[in-house]
Symmetry: C2
Subunit: 206 residues, 2 copies
DNA sequence: CAACTAACAATCAGGCTTGACTGTTTCTTT
DNA sequence: AAAGAAACAGTCAAGCCTGATTGTTAGTTG
């Protein structure tokens, strides 16, 4: 029964599934073993794709992992939009927006971003692949946020700066996770982060 | 003339200089080449120390790089204290404290911390070496900060949480540097970060 | 001053990764 | 249906890193 369906797969479909398998495998590998442990062979094995096929789609390691993060960013953006759209009308949208944002940073696959950002610092080729992708994503985030809170985003400067700091703080929290450092708990920090956001946006906490 | 001085160097002195050379070389190497590029051979070469001597002092790569970061933390703490002590009495201490803190994150060698934090996520041995060092340092930072601002630190919870967020934000800013991302400038973020701190501490900006 | 310990030097093998090369299968177009 | 293009598979050599092993020098203690 499946065979009838499978029998005719267009090239584009084949390409898409192969690429998706490689990108997911690359993310998984980055998370589990870090950038250094993410060898092209390992990714090909995990994806169940031959090394030749892999090299066909992604000629270098840098191209592969950068595309993987682009893939992840696309999912994160889509999921954020879906999550925000399904919010109860009576919900505290700002608070929910912050929480939803944090849930993007705590995704399992997000660790891959940290791996690549760190590696890109000393790897010019990777940086060349990654920088435009990261810049594009960040621009997307700002654009989406302004769309969600048009009233708050009136004075662009304050809104953008506050959002940038929220993103920075979340990046920092995500980066120092897993070391078991002392200090206030994540939930405490999140609460305060929200309060700060509300104040900076000139809107009292509801 | 130097020979008279050099002629008698105690073992402890020899050990100290060799270790210092190795730790500085390790930091430099982490900054320039990242964790993956920080091979024990490379560090030994840079330090002008034989591999055997290196292995004598630091039996494994993890022990070496963790000690290097501990070395860096010690310098950062000392420099912060010196910087704070030499502040003009009429200065805005809170503002200066934030700026001085940020100057610790923008040090050239600080990139080594990011390298190791990232690597530790997937390297259990490194994590085992690094976690206690990082925890100890963070505790130090909180202790010092409370000492500098005893009046603000009255209600421990608020003070600690705000400080934690400042550290997180600076960590995040440091981590995403060099990618050339769009968004508000660092100085703009710092200004807002200071304002946020002042508000969170219940003290209006002066 | 002699034994002993710590510091230092040099070499080596095993294991692993990268990207190139060549050959085969599957789809599309005419 | 046949030819051409794209996707896919397997193999390989070169290069590099890690940590172990063995040997030598400098300093200390009784």
């Amino acid at each position: 029964m499946q065979q009838a369906v499978r029998a005719r797969r267009t090239q584009a479909e084949r390409t898409a599934t192969t690429r998706a398998k490689l990108l997911d495998a690359a993310l998984e590998c980055l998370v589990e073993r870090g950038y250094a442990g993410t060898t092209t062979t390992e990714v090909a094995d995990r994806a169940g794709v031959s090394r030749g096929a892999q090299l066909h789609h992604f000629p270098t390691r840098a191209a592969l992992v950068a595309a993987a993060v682009e893939h992840l960013y696309a999912r994160m953006t889509a999921d954020y939009q879906a999550g925000f759209a399904s919010l109860s009308p009576r919900a505290d949208r700002l608070r929910a927006g912050v929480d939803l944002l944090w849930s993007m940073f705590t995704r399992r696959h997000f660790a891959a971003v940290g791996e690549l950002f760190t590696a890109a610092r000393t790897d010019a080729e990777l940086r060349a692949h990654l920088a435009p992708i990261a810049a594009h994503h960040e621009a997307n985030v700002f654009r989406l946020a302004r769309g969600y809170f048009p009233d708050l985003a009136r004075h662009d400067a304050r809104f953008d700066t506050a959002l940038a700091l929220i993103l920075d703080a979340m990046n920092g929290m995500a980066a120092t996770r897993g070391l078991g450092l002392p200090g206030p708990s994540e939930s405490t920090r999140l609460d305060t982060l929200y309060t700060i956001a509300a104040q900076a946006f000139g809107e009292p906490a509801t």
